[in-house]
Amino acid sequence: MSVPGPSQWLVLIVFVPLLAAVAAVLWPGRGAGRWLTVLTGLLTGGGLLSLSARLLDAGEPVTHALGGWPTPLGIALYADGLSLAMLWLTWVVMSAASWHADAYNPAHGIDEALFRPLWLACWCALNAVFVSGDLFNVYVVLEISTLAAVPLVAIAGGRAALTAALRYLLFALLGALVYLLGVALVYGRHGRLDMHGLEITPEPAMLLAAGLVTAGLMAKAALVPMHVWLPPAHSRAPAPVSAILSALVVKAAVYLLLRLWTWTWPELINGAAWVLGGLGAVAMIHGSVLALLQVRLKRVVAYSTVAQLGYLLLVFPLASLLAWQGVVMHAVSHGLAKAGFFLAAGNIMHLLGHDRLQGMRGISGGPLALTMFALALSAVSLMGLPPSGGFLAKWLLLQAALEAGAWGWAALLLIAGLLAAAYLFRVLAILLARDTPDPLAAPGSDRHVPTAMAWSALTLALGSAVLAFAGEPLLRLFSIGSPDIMTGSTGP
C-alpha cells in the first residue's frame, strides 16, 4: 500500500476520527479510549503536515472529488489556508484537551463509555466542517458537531448542566432549521449546492436565503443577539468540554459565515458587511461588559468568548488581505488562549470545588503555580498584548482599519482590547490578593493538580504566545486561497 497523497489525506482526516469514534463504542474501556485518541491524533497530525507542506509548496488550495465525481454532481473536499488554520487549531486543542481529560474525567466521575465516542465524533465533525465545500454536507457535519457537543455539556450530570445543555440544543436546532430553509431556497433557485461554484446574484429570494442561513449560523455561533445559550452551556460543561466548545465548536459556525459571504454570495455583501460588522461590534462591547460583571470564573471566560467572536466579523467591513490575515490569526490565537484558560479554570475548580471569584483570593502559587501561568499567559493573548498571537491579530486588524481610513473600527478594536484587559485583570488581581487566609492552606487540603491537567493548560497558553514568533510562515499559510473579495481582485 502506498502512502496517501495530500488529497487523500483530506478524506482520512475526517474518517480516522469517525472510525475511532465507532471503535470507542465497541471498546468502551478507558485504556482503549485513550489509545484510540492518541492514534487519531497521530494520523490526523500526519495528514495535516502533509497537507500543509503541499499547500505551502504549491501556493494554492488542495481539492479532492469524492469517488472521482466532479462538482456539481459529486461532493468536493477542499482545503486552503483558512481550512488548515482551523484544522491545526482543532488538532492542537483536541490533543491538549484530551490530555487534560485523561486526568480530569476519572477525578470527576465522567462516564468514559459515553464521553469517548462523543468526543471523537465531535473531532470528526469539526474536521469535516473545515474541509467541506458543499452547503448541505456542511449542514450535516455541523449538526453532528452540535449533537455531540450537547450531551458533552450534560455529561457531568446535575440539574444546572442539563438545563444549560437543553437550552443549547434548542438554539442549535432552531438555528439548523432556519439554515436548512435558506439552503432549500438556494437549491430551488440554482439546483446545486457547492459553495464555490454557485453564482448568486442580488435578488430578493437569494437575499432572504442569505439572511436565513446567516441567522441560523449566528444562533449556532452564539453571536449577539443569539448568544444567551452560550454562557450557561460553556460554564457548566466539564473543563475539557468547555475548552473545545469555546475554542472550536462555536467557531465552526463563524467559519461558515466567513466562507459563505466570501465564496457563495460575495455580491450580496454590500450593506450586509456593515450589519455583520456592527453585530460584531455589539458582541465585542456587550460580551466584555458582561464578563466584567460576572462573579464566577467560568462565566467570565464564557462571556469573553461572546466578545471575542465579534472580532471575526470585522473582516466584512474591513475587507482586505490584512484584515483576512488578522481575523484568521485571531481565530487561531483565541482558540488556543481560550482553551488554555478554560482548562486552567478547570484546574482551579478541581482544587477548590467551586469557581466563585471571591473564594479565590490569594490562591496564586503552591499547587496552582503552573496553572496560574497558563491563566496569565492566556489572558495576555486574549487582551491582545504582546507577545502573543492575539497581539499580532490586533495589530493586523488595526492596520487594516487605519489603511481603510476606518477610524471607528480602529477605535472599537482599541476599546475592546482595554475592556478585555479590564475583565481579565480583575480576575488576576483577585488571585494575587493576600488579605484573607489562603483557601488552599486549610487543613486537610493536600490535593494537587495532576501533571496532565497543569501542563495541557500551559501548553495551549504557550502556544498562543509562540504564535507571534511564527507569524511569518503562518500568515503566508493563512493567505493561501484567500477569497478575491479580500485580496481586492474583484468585489466592492
Binding site: 495589530w395 493586523l396 493576600r434 488579605d435 507569524g471
Partner: protein
Amino acid sequence: MTGFTLPAAMPLYTMATSLVAAVLIFALGETRGRARTVVNVAAAVVKLLFVFAMLVAVWQGQEFEVRLPMGAGLELLLIADALSLLFITLSALLWLLTTVYAIGYLEGAPQRARFFGFFSLCVAATMGIASAGNLFTFFIFYELLTLATYPLVAHRGTADALRGARVYLAYTLAGGVALLAGIVWLEVLGVDTTFTPGGQLDDHDVGPALRGAYWLLIAGIGVKAAMVPLHGWLPIAMVAPAPVSALLHAVAVVKAGAFGIVRVVLDVYGSERAGAEGLLLPLAVLAAITIIWGSVRALAQRDIKKRLAYSTVSQVSYITLGIALGGPVAAVGGLVHLVHQGLMKITLFFCAGNWAETLEIKRIDQLNGVGRRMPLTTAAFTIGALGMIGMPPVAGFISKWYLGLGALQAGAPWAVAVLVASTLLNAAYFLPVLARAWFAPPPEHWHERFDGLRAETLLALLIPTLLVAAAALAVGVFAALGASPLAWAEFIIREEYLP
C-alpha cells in the same frame, strides 16, 4: 579596529540572561532560596560583563543587529547603538545592586520566587526597550514591561497594593493604546519606523496626520515618563516594596518612558525636523510644567516615599526638556540626566527603604536625628538629595549645567528660569529633611528590631546603598573623564547631530 569582534546577536544574548534567570527562578520555586540567590546574582553579573563588552565594541565602532521577521512586513529588530547602551548600562548596573538589595529587603517574606521571577522579567523587558531598533519592537517590550511590573506593584496583595496596581495598570494600558495607535498610524502613513539618527521623515510632508501620530506617541510614552497630567499613577504605585519603587523610578518604568521620548524625537521625527515643524516647543513647555508641578506637589507630601515620587515626576522631565529644547548641548544634558537621575534617585529610595526596614520610619516627621543612629544611610541620602538640588560636585549639577547652557544656546532663556525655580523648590523640599535628619534631637528610643547588628542595618541593604551613592558622586566629580556618562552622552549626540 583592534582587539575583538562580538557576535552580532549580543543584544539578544544580553536580554536572554535576564529571561533565562526569570524562567529558572520560577522553576526553582519558593523553597530553594539559596539556589535562587545564586541564579539572581550570577545572571546580573554575566549580564554586566556582556554589557561592558558591548560598550567597548560600540566605542570601537562595531554595530549590533538581530532581526526576526514577524509576518506582514513586521520585524522584531534588536540593536545596540550608543544610545541603547546608555540605558542598558544603567539598568544592568542598577539591576545587580537592586537585586542584592531586594534579597536583603525581602529576607523571610512570602512569595519571593514570584517576586524575583517578575523582577528578572522586568529587566529583560527594559533591556528590550533599550535595544529596540524600531517602534514595533519598542512597543512589544513597552507592554511587556507593564505586564511584568504589575505583579510587583501588587506584590503585597493588600487592598492598597491591589488598588495601586490597578491604577498603574489603567494608566499604562491606556497609554499603550495611544502608543499602538500612533505607531500603526505612522506605518500606514508610510513612515519607516526604524530608529535612525536624524529621523525618518525625509521628504514626508508634516501634515495633521504626522502631527497627530506624534502626539499619540508622546501621550502613550508620556504615561510611563509620568508627564503631567499623566503622572497620577506614580505616587499611588508607591505602595510597592522599596526595591520595586527603586526599579520603577530609576531603572525601568519612568526611564523607559523618557528613553522612548528620546527615540521618537531624535530617531523617528528627527530633532531638527521636529523643531522646524514646531513639534518641540509644546513638548518643552509640557516638560517645564511637569518639572514645576512635580516639585510643588513634592513640597506638600509628608510621606518620604511620596515626596520622592513627586520628585521623580519633576526630575524625569529634565530629560524630556533637554531633548525638547532642540540643541546638541541641551540634548547632552537630557541624556546624561537619564543616568544621573537614575543613580541619585535609586540612592534616595534605598535610603528610604533602609529607614523603613530598620527603624520603621515612613514619614518625614519621624526622621528626627536619624543621622546619629544610621549615619551611613543618612550620608548617602544627603549625597542623593544634594545631587537632586544640583549642588556641585554631585551628578545633578552636571545635568543642570548642560541643560542651562543648552537652553541659552537654543534661544530659550525661559527654560533657565524653570531650572532655577526647580532648584529652589528642590532645596525647599530636601533641605528641611536633611536638617531634621542630622540636627534634630532623636526620639527617646528607636525601635529595637535590629539591635545587635554590627552595622547600622543589614549589609545587603547598606552596601548597595553606599555603592550607588558613591557612583552618584563619582559620575559628577569625574564627569570630565573619557569613561563618564557625560562623555558617552556627548558621543551619542555627536552621532545624532553630525551623522
